[in-house]
């Protein structure tokens, strides 16, 4: 109980003091996760839309794969990326291990299936709704895809925010490929893990509260978007 009270006091004190280390950790967390989100959105929305709209052999297997990979354990992703980026690995020459770039790669791999699977479902549902109309109007495929993506934009932003939530809260993969190096690869989740192992539970909880606030902000944005879309009957 004492730890909780101390954690809240410390969290507010840290936030109020504008602690440089804390700001650095938060900034790196956001930089890594937002960059991973950007990369995942480009790949995931593209793959999701392709699988939603196109008919090709193995489409069912692709859907199963997306859905299965949504539950990828972060430590497994971390391990795979570690093997790829380690000196003996195929991408070892780039020297990316224990850098923010490695963490971005790991998070991108982790959240791309989530974005692809959820966007596939959203785009496919809307595409089915529009399908007869588009065929009736002889809408070319590329215009049909663009129209569906545009009309599904509110839902797709929610998907992206879900991906961001997963990325920013993830610890296993970034710990393995980033190494939790102070002033280089330390992000909020790895810092929490470190402070917990050191026994500084109050600081760990304070960082957790900051993480929670970011997560809540993201969720509030998602809810606000959906509410706005529903109010305007676009969703």
């Amino acid at each position: 109980m004492h730890d909780f009270a101390e954690a809240f006091r410390l969290a507010f004190a840290l936030a109020a003091s504008g602690d440089a280390d804390l700001i650095e950790i938060i900034a790196l967390s956001l930089q890594v996760s937002l960059t991973a989100l950007l990369a995942s959105s480009v790949i995931g929305f593209g793959l999701g839309t392709l699988v939603a709209v196109a008919r090709f052999p193995g489409r069912g297997a692709a859907i199963v794969a997306f859905n299965t990979l949504m539950g990828l354990p972060p430590v497994v992703v971390g391990l795979l990326v570690y093997l790829m980026l380690s000196r003996a690995g195929p991408l070892g020459v780039f020297g990316l291990l224990y850098t923010p770039a490695a963490m971005i790669i790991a998070q991108t791999i982790l959240i791309t299936p989530i974005i692809a699977a959820l966007s596939r479902q959203i785009v496919e549902d809307l595409f089915l709704e529009y399908d007869e109309l588009f065929r009736s109007m002889s809408v070319p495929t590329h215009q049909a895809m663009a129209a569906v993506l545009w009309d599904a934009r509110f839902s797709l932003v929610t998907v992206a925010l879900a991906g961001f939530g997963r990325a920013i809260a993830e610890v296993g993969a970034v710990m393995i490929v980033g190494g939790n190096i102070d002033h280089l690869t330390r992000v909020m989740t790895t810092a929490i893990a470190l402070e917990t192992s050191k026994g500084d539970l109050a600081l760990a909880l304070a960082l957790g509260i900051v993480l929670l606030v970011i997560s809540m902000t993201v969720n509030a944005m998602a809810l606000s978007l959906r509410t706005t879309a529903a109010r305007q009957a676009y969703a």
């Binding site: 009736s136 002889s138 809408v139 009309d151 305007q232 009957a233 969703a235």
Partner: protein, 258 residues
């Protein structure tokens, strides 16, 4: 240089062909031995039909007669199991379909504003202009709602928007699948007025309904369908005065037609 000139000629010629195809009349329509089977049932059964160049054809018949299905087949949204559909000798295909427009019983509207729904159709036609958009919206009485989200419109307004979108394509043939089902009388009257205007301007109308009163008001000729076949095709006056088929007589008398 000569090659370039030839290629330019080809492009000009192909554009001219496309323009010709666009202006060539789609009618008459000839349907021979059309059959459509699904789920082990024959829903359209060896159907023959011919439609002339002008007017409003009302497709009448009880529920399950195959009216809406026939409309989808004529528009090429579904492929027949067998039989032929030819529009002025041209088999169904992209060039035929783009000269028709279909209004569905339940309008499918994009998740956009009223005006943007029309813009989408006009852009497809390469005619995107606010003047044309406003003209169409005015024609269906929706100009003041141009900025409203389309899905917040009432049922009648949504159907009028769908009709405006169909008219935006300036089709030769307008196919309407029970567009006034479950609408209030004022909306029905408004939609019928728009359809009659379109017909007066030379658009060929094929209108599916099971509303006898509506068929009486609008029809130049009536196609009465029963069990996936054309039981009767006659000028409106003849059909309503002395229907030739027993199924049509029962239908007009309000008896259950099985």
């Amino acid at each position: 240089m000569r090659e370039l000139a030839l290629r330019v000629d080809e492009i000009v010629s192909s554009d001219a062909d496309a323009a010709d195809r666009q202006t060539l009349p789609l009618l008459p329509l000839k349907v021979c031995g059309l059959t459509f089977r699904a789920g082990g049932r024959t829903l359209i059964d060896n159907l023959d039909l011919a439609l002339g160049m002008h007017g409003i054809t009302m497709m009448l018949g009880p529920n399950g007669a195959g009216k809406s299905l026939l409309l989808r087949l004529l528009h090429g949204l579904i492929a027949p199991s067998s039989g032929e559909i030819s529009w002025n000798g041209v088999p169904l295909g992209h060039s035929v379909q783009e000269r028709q427009a279909l209004v569905f019983q339940k309008p499918v509207l994009l998740r956009r504003s009223v005006g943007e729904n029309l813009d989408f159709a006009l852009r497809l036609m390469g005619q995107s202009s606010q003047q044309r958009r406003d003209e169409l919206l005015n024609r269906v009485g929706l100009l003041r709602l141009a900025r409203q989200p389309a899905r917040l419109l009432s049922g009648g307004e949504q159907q009028r928007l769908a009709l405006a979108r169909a008219l935006a394509a300036d089709p030769q043939v307008l196919l309407l699948d029970e567009p006034t089902a479950s609408l209030d009388p004022a909306s029905v009257q408004m939609i019928e007025g728009i359809v009659q205007d379109a017909s007066r301007q030379g658009m060929r109308i094929v209108f599916v309904t099971h509303d006898i009163g509506q068929a009486r008001r609008l029809a130049d000729d009536v196609v009465f369908m029963h069990r996936g076949r054309v039981a009767e095709h006659a000028p409106s006056k003849d059909f309503f005065q002395s229907p030739a088929s027993e199924a049509a007589r029962d239908f007009l008398a309000g008896r259950i037609v099985l």
